[in-house]
C-alpha cells in the first residue's frame, strides 16, 4: 500500500471510529427514566440569536421539570444551520435514536421539509415559533403549534387596520421565509378587506441601512405601515422614520413583543401598535417565567417571545408525555384535549391542531419619563 492509501484508510477509520463511539455512547443514554425530546434550531449564522432564545426558554423549562420530576427530561439540541436537508438529517438522527418527539424545528420551510418523514415515522412535532400557513395541512395529526399562523395574525391585523380607517398601507418586511410569508398573507387579506398596499419595501435581517428605505416610505405617504421586521431592525427603522419626520401609523404583530423593540426604539417606539393573541393581562405563569428568565440571564425586562414559546412548548409536551406515556398516538389524543395555562397565554388546539385563539388584542407602546409601557387598546373583532 502506498502512503497515500494508508493515510486515506486511516482517515476513514478515524471518522468511522468516531461514529462508532457516538453510537456506543448513545446506547448508554437509552434509559427508561429519561425522556428525550429533539429540538432542531438555527444555532449559527444570522438567525443564531433567535435559535438561542428558543434554546434558553426550553432549557429553563427542562431544568424546572427535572427539579421536580422523578423521570428526567433531556432535550437534544441540534444546529440545522438554516438548511432543509440538515434539518431533515437531524430529524432522521433523532428517529434512529428512538426519539419520537420533536420539540421544535426552527424555520417554517425546514419544518415543512421534515413533515413528510415525521408523518411517515409516526413521530410528533410541536412547534412554538413556526408561523407558515401551510404547516398544519402538511403535518396533519402529527403537527401541533402554539404560535398562531401568519394567516390568523394577518386577518386580525388587516381587520383592525381597516376598521380604524387605514386604507392605504405600506409593508416593510424582512425578505426571508417568515417575513415574506407574513407579507404575502397580509397583502391578500388587506386587499380582501378593501385596503390598498401602495408600497412594499424589503430588507434582510440585521441589515440596518434604513435611510433610503425610509426616504422612499416618506415619499409614498401611506396611512399605515405594517412592520414585519425582527424587533431590533423594526426599532431602528422606526427611529429613522421619526428622525425623518414621517407621518404614518406603525403596526406589527407579535414580532414587536419582548423588550428589544422598546429598549432599542426608545422614544420612537411610542405609539407603535401591534396585535397579539391572548388575554388582556399577564398570567401567573407568565410572571413566573419572567422571574426564572431574569434569574438565569440577568435580563432587566421581558423575556423575548421565542423564549416564552420555547418554554411553553416543552411544558405542554411534557404534560402530555407524563399523562400518556411515550406512545405517540396517545400523546396526540391528550394534546387534542389539553387545556394548558402557558406563559404565552392559554393553550388549546382546534381540530387542525392550531392554537385556539379566543381573542386578539390591540396593544400600543407608550413612552413617558424614559420608561416604556404597553397600553391595551381592546379586543379585535373579525
Amino acid at each position: 500500500m502506498t502512503s497515500r492509501t494508508k493515510v486515506f484508510a486511516a482517515a476513514v477509520a478515524v471518522v468511522a471510529g468516531l461514529g462508532l463511539l457516538i453510537a456506543v455512547l448513545r446506547l448508554g443514554t437509552g434509559r427508561s427514566d429519561t425522556v428525550r425530546i429533539g429540538s432542531i434550531l438555527v444555532l449559527s449564522g444570522n438567525y443564531k440569536s433567535q435559535g438561542e432564545q428558543i434554546r434558553d426558554g426550553q432549557t429553563i423549562a427542562m431544568d424546572e421539570i427535572n427539579a421536580r420530576s422523578r423521570i428526567k427530561l433531556d432535550i437534544v439540541f441540534r444546529d440545522s444551520e438554516g438548511e432543509k436537508e440538515i434539518s431533515l438529517r437531524n430529524v432522521k438522527d433523532m428517529q434512529s435514536q428512538g426519539v419520537n418527539f420533536i420539540g421544535e424545528i426552527f424555520g417554517s420551510t425546514e419544518a415543512l421539509h421534515c413533515l413528510p418523514f415525521i408523518r411517515q415515522q409516526n413521530m410528533l412535532f410541536i412547534s412554538g415559533v413556526d408561523t407558515g400557513a401551510s404547516l398544519s395541512a402538511a403535518g396533519g395529526k402529527h403537527f401541533f403549534r402554539i404560535m398562531p399562523s401568519d394567516r390568523l395574525a394577518s386577518q386580525h391585523l388587516a381587520a383592525i387596520a381597516t376598521a380604524r380607517g387605514y386604507k392605504k398601507a405600506a409593508i416593510v418586511f424582512a425578505n426571508d421565509v417568515w417575513g415574506k410569508g407574513l407579507k404575502d398573507e397580509m397583502e391578500a387579506e388587506y386587499k380582501r378587506l378593501g385596503g390598498e398596499t401602495t408600497l412594499v419595501l424589503d430588507t434582510v435581517k440585521n441589515q440596518d441601512l434604513f435611510q433610503p428605505l425610509v426616504a422612499r416610505l416618506k415619499a409614498d405617504r401611506p396611512t399605515v405601515t405594517f412592520l414585519f421586521l425582527y424587533a431590533r431592525d423594526a426599532a431602528n427603522f422606526v427611529k429613522e422614520a421619526r428622525r425623518q419626520g414621517i407621518q404614518t401609523e406603525f403596526m406589527g404583530t407579535d414580532n414587536l413583543t419582548g423588550s428589544e423593540f422598546a429598549d432599542v426604539g426608545e422614544d420612537a417606539a411610542s405609539g407603535v401598535m401591534y396585535v397579539v393573541p391572548g388575554p388582556p393581562t399577564a398570567s401567573d405563569r407568565r410572571l413566573h417565567f419572567q422571574q426564572l428568565y431574569k434569574a438565569k440571564f440577568g435580563a432587566s425586562s421581558e423575556p423575548p417571545l421565542f423564549a416564552t414559546h420555547g418554554y411553553d412548548t416543552v411544558h405542554v409536551l411534557w404534560e402530555a408525555i407524563e399523562a400518556s406515556g411515550r406512545d405517540v398516538p396517545r400523546v396526540i389524543s391528550y394534546l387534542e384535549q389539553v387545556h394548558y395555562d402557558g406563559a404565552s397565554g392559554p393553550i388549546a388546539f382546534d381540530r387542525n391542531h392550531e392554537l385556539v385563539v379566543s381573542e386578539y388584542r390591540l396593544k400600543a407602546f407608550r413612552r413617558s419619563g424614559g420608561q416604556t409601557t404597553v397600553e391595551d387598546l381592546g379586543p379585535i373583532g373579525r
Binding site: 440569536s49 425578505n175 430588507t203 440585521n206 440596518d208 426616504a215
Partner: protein, 284 residues
C-alpha cells in the same frame, strides 16, 4: 434628497475606510485577507467591553484600536507569515481565522445585537442634523486618505512597503526590515478596521456578523478601484455609497444591492482588467 446624498456619502466613507485597511494588506502581500471583516467586528466589541469596564470614550477607542492592531500583527505572524508567497493558502488561512474570530466573539458576547453608546449625540452641520459618528467618519476620511497617500507615495517606508510586493529581496538589500514593515502595515490595517467597526457599531449596532457586509463591499471596491491608487479607493468608495443608497431608494429593496454592485464589478473588470484607477506596473 440632500439627506439621501449625505447618507450615501457616509456609507461610502465607511466602505472606503474599511477598503483602505484591506487595500493595504492586499497591495503588500497580494492576498485577500478575509479575516479583515471580522477584525471590524472585534474592534467594535472591544470598544464595547471598554465601555462596560467604565472607560470613557476616547480611551475606549484608543485601547480598542491598539488591541485590534496587535491582534492583526499576531494573526499575520501565526497564520500568514509561514505561508508567504502562497496566496491561495493565505486566503484560505484567513478564512479559517475569520471563522475562529467569529465563533470566539459569539462565545464571549452571545449573538444578540448590542448598542455601542459612543458618539451618539447629534450635531448640526450646515443646517442638517448629523450623528457625531457620521461627522467623525467624514473627518477621518478627509484626514486618513490624504495621509495614507502621502505616506505611501512620499516616505521611504511607504514606498518600501509598496515595493515589497514586487521585490522582497531588493527591499531587504536596502537595509529595510521587511518583516517588521509587514507587521506595521498589518497593525495599521487592523487599527483602521477597528475604527470602522467602532463607527459602525455606534451608527447602527454591534452583532457578530456586522463586518461581513462591509467587508464584501470593501473587497469589491478595492478590485474595482484597482491596485495602487488611494485616490481611486476614495472616489470609488464615495460612488459606491451613493450607488447603494440610490439602488435601495429606487428599488425599495436591499436584495438588489449586491446584484448591482457585482454587476458593475464584472463590467469594470471586463473593460479595464486592472481596475478603474489601477496602474499597470512593468514587469522585469
Amino acid at each position: 434628497m440632500t439627506d439621501l446624498l449625505i447618507n450615501g456619502v457616509v456609507i461610502g466613507v465607511l466602505i472606503a475606510l474599511v477598503a483602505l485597511g484591506f487595500a493595504l494588506t492586499f497591495s503588500i502581500l497580494k492576498f485577500i485577507n478575509f479575516a479583515h471583516t471580522d477584525l471590524i467586528t472585534v474592534g467594535g466589541y472591544l470598544a464595547y467591553s471598554c465601555g462596560r469596564l467604565k472607560l470613557s470614550v476616547v480611551p475606549s477607542v484608543i485601547v480598542a484600536t491598539v488591541l485590534t492592531g496587535l491582534l492583526g500583527v499576531v494573526i499575520e505572524r501565526l497564520a500568514y507569515r509561514p505561508l508567504r508567497g502562497q496566496r491561495l493558502s493565505m486566503f484560505l488561512s484567513s478564512f479559517g481565522v475569520s471563522i475562529l474570530l467569529n465563533s470566539s466573539i459569539t462565545l464571549c458576547f452571545g449573538s444578540t445585537s448590542r448598542t455601542l453608546p459612543i458618539a451618539q449625540d447629534a450635531v448640526r452641520v450646515a443646517g442638517r442634523t448629523l450623528a457625531s459618528a457620521e461627522v467623525i467618519a467624514l473627518c477621518l476620511f478627509l484626514v486618513l486618505l490624504p495621509l495614507s497617500w502621502f505616506i505611501f507615495r512620499k516616505t521611504q517606508y511607504g514606498l518600501a512597503a509598496r515595493a515589497i510586493s514586487e521585490n522582497w529581496d531588493g527591499v531587504a538589500l536596502l537595509g529595510i526590515p521587511c518583516d517588521r514593515l509587514v507587521s506595521c502595515v498589518f497593525f495599521v490595517s487592523s487599527g483602521l478596521a477597528a475604527l470602522a467597526g467602532i463607527l459602525l457599531g455606534s451608527l447602527y449596532s454591534l452583532s457578530p456578523q456586522m463586518g461581513h457586509k462591509y467587508g464584501i463591499w470593501a473587497f469589491v471596491l478595492v478590485v474595482v478601484a484597482g491596485f495602487g491608487s488611494i485616490f481611486g479607493i476614495a472616489t470609488t468608495g464615495l460612488f459606491a455609497g451613493l450607488l447603494i443608497t440610490a439602488v435601495m431608494y429606487c428599488f425599495g429593496s436591499y436584495t438588489f444591492v449586491n446584484a448591482v454592485l457585482f454587476g458593475i464589478l464584472t463590467i469594470v473588470l471586463l473593460v479595464r482588467p486592472d481596475g478603474l484607477f489601477g496602474m499597470r506596473l512593468r514587469r522585469f
